[in-house]
Symmetry: D2
Subunit: 198 residues, 4 copies
Amino acid sequence: MAKGGLNLLLFLGSVREGRIGLRVGKYVQNLLEQRSHKVTVLDPKELNLAQVVKPLHFHKNPAEAPEILQKINKQIKGADGFIVVSPEYNSAFGPALASLMDHFPPASYSYRPSTIVTYAGGALGGIRAAMQLRQYLSELTTVHMPSMIVIPNAPKTLDEEGVLKAESGDLVKSCTKAIDQLEWYAGVLKKGREENPV
Amino acid sequence: MAKGGLNLLLFLGSVREGRIGLRVGKYVQNLLEQRSHKVTVLDPKELNLAQVVKPLHFHKNPAEAPEILQKINKQIKGADGFIVVSPEYNSAFGPALASLMDHFPPASYSYRPSTIVTYAGGALGGIRAAMQLRQYLSELTTVHMPSMIVIPNAPKTLDEEGVLKAESGDLVKSCTKAIDQLEWYAGVLKKGREENPV
Amino acid sequence: MAKGGLNLLLFLGSVREGRIGLRVGKYVQNLLEQRSHKVTVLDPKELNLAQVVKPLHFHKNPAEAPEILQKINKQIKGADGFIVVSPEYNSAFGPALASLMDHFPPASYSYRPSTIVTYAGGALGGIRAAMQLRQYLSELTTVHMPSMIVIPNAPKTLDEEGVLKAESGDLVKSCTKAIDQLEWYAGVLKKGREENPV
Amino acid sequence: MAKGGLNLLLFLGSVREGRIGLRVGKYVQNLLEQRSHKVTVLDPKELNLAQVVKPLHFHKNPAEAPEILQKINKQIKGADGFIVVSPEYNSAFGPALASLMDHFPPASYSYRPSTIVTYAGGALGGIRAAMQLRQYLSELTTVHMPSMIVIPNAPKTLDEEGVLKAESGDLVKSCTKAIDQLEWYAGVLKKGREENPV
């Protein structure tokens, strides 16, 4: 199907000192931009939203909610799909990711696809966080893709600019597969939403 | 969107004596047929496939695989979507369900939506099995719907013909929501597969 | 076995406005104190640790770590067992809980039992969060108890002082079972640690 | 603590043609026997129990239950701990394992520790199955150990006799850690059960 032109939101999931997620986010962002998609990054560290004290949809009058929440909510609703980049801490996904995404109502994520991206210093690449994300993202009502990007030995694989330090055929292949799938679903669901409003 | 006309496969997930899954399967099947969809039931007890000794795709020569496996595989590939009905045994989904679905390659389930249906005698309705199914079905590469049908107190809720014993507004409402969503995705993805072959 | 005298740490898992966790924490704390145990509450809101930027064990020189982290770490290592009270947000446990517990090395939690307590406004009582906690707490190397305390309709069940609003035989029963089990394991493991240092 | 002398049950979790679980089971059994423990293997293929039609505890009159179920139940209740060896099929643990273990009441597994062992052909070693097992085994009320044995590239790592094909420092190390922990808990809990009957 026609490629390019998707409006994608990329969530980062760590605020830790020295977080590798920045590299991973840049790497995936580059791959998507090479395919002519627009990628907007939501970084919990930059946004400085801190922990959820009151989600957007818990404000009786939305106009009272912090402007930054209203702005991000519009970005979510305007996106064609999501990329969710998470570390794995103690087998779970990053609490900073939940602190960011929990701020917004599930309805904002609905009928849009998402791709799970995890990374770790070890050989498992954050797959346990990815498994918990399958449950979490389904509850947020985004449809997460079967194909994921799971990056083992991340600090040794990517440099600080998000460039591969050495050839990694397996990673490139799994990224291609995951992005092809995201493109297919994002395109098909976008058309579906236009033709059959939900 | 236009309703009716979907070709759906319904998997049952128990072979136990007195299994309540039969009632649940009939109840959901009726709801789908009332909307003019075709529902084919795959019952592990009737099929008598027993446990997986060798999945279809592990046969070097598919022609050597048991005919029944080849037949079901065609049904899966020909379906527009799946309904997966499972009990919860010790917080997991039914092993009879895995024994049935594991026989077939993930590719057969791809680019098709599925709806998770769980039931239990207690108040939790099998939600723990549903959570494990989110991970399992994603690995089978079907896209499972955010909305599920979770039936607590199942033996008291449905009679042996799969008819509600008493009014249950909550259950009816959640079924409507789940089936609406399955219809939307099944229709949109079907069109997507036709226009953008995968 | 001899009751009373355990030194227990109770973790709260929410910092949200109007959090029900406070009531739940008080309710369980009361039950434990009635059995003559000492309960110390770790409240992420009061502690104001915010999100994890650098866990205690990532400081090369522990003396450089914030004093509050060193203090809590000593409390964890000095405890006979843990009670982990969590809300369920989008099927996951509270990110404020992870932000608190992730600060400390798994070794601090080792060879000690923990009891999972979840609550929710709905009928499922946070059981999905509890399921993810089973994986998370195992990774923190505490041994979590098979019996849990899962509280559905929490705001209607407990008042602001953590007192039952109405009789609730099921909840009382499940608390008794869970606390009996925690006492048994805490006592047995304590003796085990004394006789067979690890 | 004093080593040796534990009475352990090892569950195999696959009945598939060419199953690698046999090798894994033998490998772990050898390690345990070298430490002078008694290991009894429960193999679902040999036992030929097939799928669960009626668990032992669902028989109104236990004397009517098949003798083999009564015999295994006694073995479970008489054990000091369990080793649970599972493959990973589509991110879940083997249905043959559930078909075996589901036959018996949770009470039979209570107050005894278990060690999770998974294996896979790929780099993840079955960790996803292990994560689902954490939830499943907790529901069976055995206390599963934080340390697990996760074996990637299993067919290349172990020969048919369960002997390492080449040195594998990481695997040996993780086995030592996991078995040390199982011994500690099995010994401490055994003494606990004797001194404080449950």
